[in-house]
Symmetry: C2
Subunit: 204 residues, 2 copies
DNA sequence: AGATTGAACGATTTGTTGATTATTCAGAAA
DNA sequence: TTTCTGAATAATCAACAAATCGTTCAATCT
């Protein structure tokens, strides 16, 4: 079984090299197989198909990103709102620069999001776990609270959709996107009418 | 000149019939010209090109929508926050059902947003005018206020991007989209931490 | 003169063919 | 038996030709 896992890893590494050099479409399973000194058919004992190899590569990469995000989420000496800010900005900057400088990564992102829409959902769910942690922390620290944290996290994600795959949705430059994200975060945190809400609370 | 305008309108009507029956791609300029009892070449004295006719159709339609929105925006006997809610929901429902039941409209939306990205910007800008009015009204009524209303309106639009062309961004059903929009609006209005803000204000 | 035409042009699309490629699986090797 | 191979298959893609279509403009009409 450990044997099997190491072969899976070898396949992923070989494919990663090919994909990033020549692109996903221009890489054939036969080539990956040759790189791994095996026949094309044998690849299918380790991965159900070509797309699954691409997914494995994406997952490896995204896991690193998630770890980085988790670090930001527990950064001590920072407001929860600051951490939320850092988290969302990190997400924007990472995907923007990745898709900008690596056309091959862009191609793979397109293919995966087209053929495997569930994958994007998985990513969102993983990130949402971090957001929920953050909301818990905010409650513990008395910064702010919400009745349904899972739902609130979902809404934060919905409101920041535009910044998740920036170049798929708009043609804004990174600075403009950052300016907008800054504004949206401020709005999300403070709301349009904190005064009215405060008054209502005071009246109650 | 009135003559010229009536011919322009005739062209738009003829094209609208063709586009909605057979689709934008499957309609030829020659057909539209024949419907208007003129030669293909003559069309170009009235519109610069095929896409511009499609734009004219879209604009006619969108103007109606804008008027409806303006009515909602000045609905008396309603909170500004209620009106904002109605506005954003109207936007979601209209585009969702339109794109859902009219594949031809979907096709045209795709073509225009691909070939004329500025057009989407124009629509956003028109709608933003209404939002700014609304924010002004909120200030007058003392419901809530913001220092830069144009910017705030932009941020509200950025945060509700996902609900503007629903089926382009996700495959969620209308009920799920409505549930999410409800949540996002609530978040936008109240913010994550109105309490903290209120406390800060009180302390100042 | 200005308005209109329709043939001509280049770009795009369509249809067709042949080659490539992902995937499978019967059988060979271990 | 279990692991692997590589030829067979069906689906997709690339390339080229033909046709179509948006657009232009010199010529024609009013």
């Amino acid at each position: 079984m450990a044997e099997k896992d190491s072969i899976r890893e070898q396949i992923v590494q070989a494919a990663k090299k090919r994909f990033s050099h020549f692109g996903y479409a221009k890489t054939t399973m036969a080539e990956v197989a040759t790189d791994c000194c095996m026949s094309p058919g044998n690849l299918y004992r380790f991965y159900p198909g070509k797309l699954d190899i691409a997914e494995a590569i994406a997952t490896e990469d995204y896991s690193q990103h998630l770890e980085h995000m988790r670090k930001l989420a527990i950064a001590p000496g920072k407001d929860v709102r600051e951490r939320l800010h850092d988290l969302l900005f990190e997400e924007l900057r990472r995907t923007y620069t990745k898709l900008e400088c690596h056309p091959r990564a862009f191609e793979m992102a397109l293919v995966i999001s087209r053929e495997r829409p569930e994958y994007a959902n998985w990513m969102l769910a993983e990130e949402r776990k971090i957001l929920v942690e953050l909301l818990d922390e905010a409650e513990r620290r008395g910064e702010f609270t919400s009745d349904n944290k899972e739902f609130t996290a979902e809404m934060v994600q919905a409101a920041t959709m535009k910044f998740r795959y920036p170049q798929l949705w708009s043609k804004l430059t990174l600075p403009k996107l950052e300016r907008e994200l800054e504004g949206v975060i401020k709005l999300l945190i403070n709301g349009l009418c904190p005064h009215a809400r405060a008054r209502r609370d005071a009246a109650a």
